[in-house]
Symmetry: C2
Subunit: 279 residues, 2 copies
């Protein structure tokens, strides 16, 4: 039975009981509209913790775009059924006023790795994400927290501030889960019409093709330029970035002399998709 | 026996053992040069916790003035002896590189109540204080933390971000401890020469006199102006502020229709003194 909890105070009491029994709490922070990617995180948490909390909170502070916040999919009843099936102990689904009560005035911000990529296109996004995750770690007192590699930069930012602030939680990154056609699972995929949905897997195919060429020793810039041209010609509306970056520090990279990752953000109509792969 | 610990990792192990036994940890964050004010906090912690950690860290991130950081008094051997006498379990005294290792990139900031008073005269001070205290709460996993009312605005800021970030620590404010002549105890008092030391208690006397007049119904501005003129005429070099503020939110106040506090920061030569009292 998955229990729904909506207030920090009720969650605190629940967790205090577990802690008294010496239990290790695992948390999976989500924005709901749960799919197989989230469920893989819940399974990892289940395997590596004594009790599992999945949080569902569509965090206004990390949306830089009001329409994106407005249209973000919400499906609590279905989310609950999925979590029941995974043996999750608590679905923590607080309201906005519970998370940001009157007088709220604190921000957690990370410099450096938050500046390129998503940070350049979504001002304030990482401040909002870091702040709400700090709160969720405090509320759940989790010893382990599970994040998908799909949001690679987010995972790096979380690892950074958890280390910097000495928050007593271990961050565990889990592999991106994909549809059979290669499209990275994302709640925003629900917003794609049939034509765009059919086109979407081209992103992952082009990323894989680029990675193959890079591994074979091709120069980075022509490979990236060609992939971008292919995607735009196929019908992607706009490309925010399609870049090679160092794993350590997300610095621009032009070759494979250090561990690198290919990261992309593109628009299909009004829907923004992101993805990344190791090279 | 007070044990000195210098790394977050060693502290984590020590605290983990206590936590396994269900002990409540109390922490007193300080910048060292301990005096009776700090010791009163250690005693409160001793009375209200199973284990007590006093942290001594002169935090560069909260100093806006290099010379203030340079001249800030340091006296670890004496601090240790004082803490031994109070039955403190651990003196946590990390180095700067331990607290801010290479790559450190995170800031905790509070808006609103950080802006007037100390915030207006010490840019970045409260960001540095909030960040290091968040770290110390994470490192010590303390259930209770003890702060002096001497730094009234600091106490309000700590209460704000602890609540905002759901950090599982209870903040306990303790009364200002004064010398027999009324001067609020402060590590910076050690920097006063004999003439300035003799003059310093006038600050508290003038604050008390102003509070008495305000309680008797006097208009605020003339009372504050007169006190400031007296202090400057007596030999105080400069007054950063000498103001009446609401207890709730530190908003400017001109009468006693709400709970208010009188707060002051003044310079005696090169030494900056602060104080505050309830009105």
């Amino acid at each position: 039975m998955t229990e729904i909890i909506r207030t920090a105070e009720a969650l605190r009491e629940k967790v205090a009981g577990w802690k008294r029994s010496g239990m290790l709490v695992g948390v999976v922070p989500t924005m709901g509209a749960l799919h197989e990617g989230h469920l893989s995180l819940a399974r990892a948490a289940r395997a590596q913790s004594d009790r599992v909390i999945v949080t569902v909170f569509v965090n206004p502070m990390q949306f830089n775009n009001a329409s994106d916040l407005e249209t973000y999919p919400r499906s609590e009843a279905q989310d609950l059924a999925l979590l029941e099936a995974e043996g999750v102990d608590v679905l923590f689904a607080p309201g906005v006023d519970e998370v940001y009560p009157e007088g709220f005035a604190t921000t957690v911000s990370v410099s450096g790795i938050t500046e390129p990529l998503e940070g350049a296109f979504r001002p304030g996004h990482f401040d909002g994400m870091a702040t709400v995750c700090t709160k969720l770690f405090g509320m759940t007192q989790a010893g382990r927290a599970f994040f998908g590699e799909k949001d690679w930069q987010q995972l790096q930012v979380v690892q950074r501030f958890v280390r910097d602030l000495n928050i007593p939680v271990r961050i565990i990154g889990c592999p991106t889960i994909r549809e059979e056609d290669g499209l990275a699972m994302s709640s925003r995929n629900l917003l794609l019409g049939p034509t765009d949905r059919a086109l979407a897997p081209l992103l992952h195919r082009e990323m894989q093709a680029a990675a193959t060429q890079l591994r074979a020793g091709a120069q980075a810039q022509p490979v990236l330029d060609e992939a971008k041209a292919t995607l735009l010609a196929a019908g992607f509306r706009d490309i925010d970035y399609f870049e090679l970056r160092s794993v350590d520090g997300l610095r621009p990279a032009s070759d494979l002399s250090q561990p690198v990752r290919l990261l992309a953000a593109l628009w299909l109509g009004d829907v923004r998709l992101i993805d990344n792969i190791a090279v």
